[in-house]
């Protein structure tokens, strides 16, 4: 047992992970062949890897079954459907942008192409953190944009969508902007406030008060809402 290892532990790991080139792998194999301890270690490493893998099998994780109203399995359907519809709708008037696409692997490229084509007069402003100064600036911008649109006689729709810690800006117990948002909504009915239901569920599970200020509606998840709006041709901007 005191003899020096001919193969390092790192090499052995790389071997079972298929990371060695043919020459190095052959050297490890030859060493394993004549060294029982090495053979045992290699077997143990493989068994360990299988144990790790088995412990996180999707069936064991209950993917899509963890939640009631906002299950993990719902939104990817919406995402996929949203992307497909979005691509389909755009193909009608922007077919040239999609000409190079032809296989299923191109879906992400197609998103990249259609995303900047959203209608800036219909805009989702996504708030994912509770930065008060930035949100205050956002509200100033919102008021400026909507007033300017009114002045030009243009129709404009804006949606402020909050998720994650950004939900604090729409929660009755935590927001310092309740009055300001109420004023904005009274002045501009075309401004909507939307909270991520998945995030609210999580907050509730942690024992937080998730009551929202008046006028806020809840979407299944922020991702659902973004995809839905993009699918309708809205532009998207994270603030």
């Amino acid at each position: 047992m005191s003899e020096e290892r001919s193969i390092s532990f790192e090499e052995l790991n790389a071997f079972i992970d298929g990371e060695l080139d043919a020459g190095a792998a052959a050297r490890v194999l030859a060493a394993i062949d004549v060294d029982d301890r090495l053979k045992r270690e290699a077997c143990e490493l493989r068994a360990l890897r299988d144990q790790v893998r088995n412990s996180y099998e999707p069936a064991r994780l209950g993917v899509g079954q963890r939640r009631g109203s906002f299950s993990a399995g719902r939104w990817p359907m919406a995402l996929a459907a949203g992307l497909l519809l979005m691509v389909g709708a755009l193909a009608g008037w922007q077919g040239h942008a999609l000409q190079r696409q032809g296989n299923a692997d191109g879906v992400w490229q197609r998103i990249a192409q259609v995303q900047p084509q959203g209608d800036a007069r219909r805009l989702v402003l996504h708030v994912g953190d509770p930065d008060r100064a930035r949100f205050e600036n956002t509200l100033d911008e919102v008021r400026g944009m909507l007033r300017a649109a009114h002045g030009r006689g243009q129709a404009m729709e804006l949606e402020i969508l909050a998720n994650g810690t950004g939900l604090n800006l729409l929660r009755a117990q935590t927001t310092p902007f309740a009055e300001r948002l109420a004023q904005l909504q009274a002045e501009f009915p075309e401004l909507s406030l939307v909270a991520c239901g998945q995030g609210l569920n999580r907050l509730q599970g942690q024992g937080n008060d998730i009551r929202l200020i008046p006028g806020v509606v809840t979407a299944d998840s922020a991702l659902d809402e973004i995809v839905r709006r993009m699918n309708q041709g809205w532009a998207y901007l994270r603030v």
Partner: protein, 181 residues
């Protein structure tokens, strides 16, 4: 676009979502948090879709975004420059919650508990290699660390995990041996 390609696109997205959820869960061991991390990952992916040049890189690209989301989450909990230095006590409660105990059988629970007890950096490397079968080079890219660090973290993680599971097995077997005597 025909029905087959639509189906394939949906399957592709669903497959990626499940992969991301499994990775996220193996890092945080909290189902709700894992869902949030996956959602944030896919939102960021939508925002940055133009950055993905090679569709073959989609799994690694999404995993890298997930790693950033996870890093951001950890930094909100405890600001630090190095993810590997994060205190594991942050997650002790989650790792041993009754919910987790109930949902896992004994062996699975033991493995998950021991993985949850690994330092964050080691846990990330171990799960990316063992669960998702990313290459060392991919993991280095996803976590923005050198390949040598991937290898050393992986070795330390496996050695620690092996030792802990062995110790747990011996602890579990000890009463039975005494009763035989």
């Amino acid at each position: 676009m025909n029905l087959f390609s639509k189906r394939r696109e949906h399957d592709q997205l669903e497959q990626q979502r499940r992969r991301l959820y499994r990775i996220a869960y193996s890092w945080c061991h909290d189902g709700s948090l894992a869902e949030d991390l996956v959602q944030e990952t896919l939102i960021r992916a939508l925002e940055r879709a133009s950055q993905l040049r090679d569709p073959e890189r989609l799994p690694a690209w999404l995993a890298a975004i997930l790693a950033n989301c996870w890093r951001d989450h950890l930094r909100r909990l405890k600001p630090t420059d190095d993810i590997a230095e994060l205190e594991e006590s942050l997650f002790d409660d989650e790792a041993h919650s009754p919910e987790r105990s109930a949902e896992c059988n004994q062996l699975v629970k033991r493995v998950r508990d021991e993985i949850a007890a690994l330092p964050v950096g080691q846990r990330q490397v171990l799960t990316l290699v063992d669960l998702e079968e990313f290459s060392y080079a991919d993991v280095a890219g996803i976590l923005e660390i050198p390949v040598g660090t991937v290898m050393s973290r992986l070795c330390r993680a496996r050695q620690a995990l092996k030792g802990r599971l062995q110790a747990a097995r011996e602890r579990a077997a000890a009463p039975a041996l005494r009763s035989v005597k």
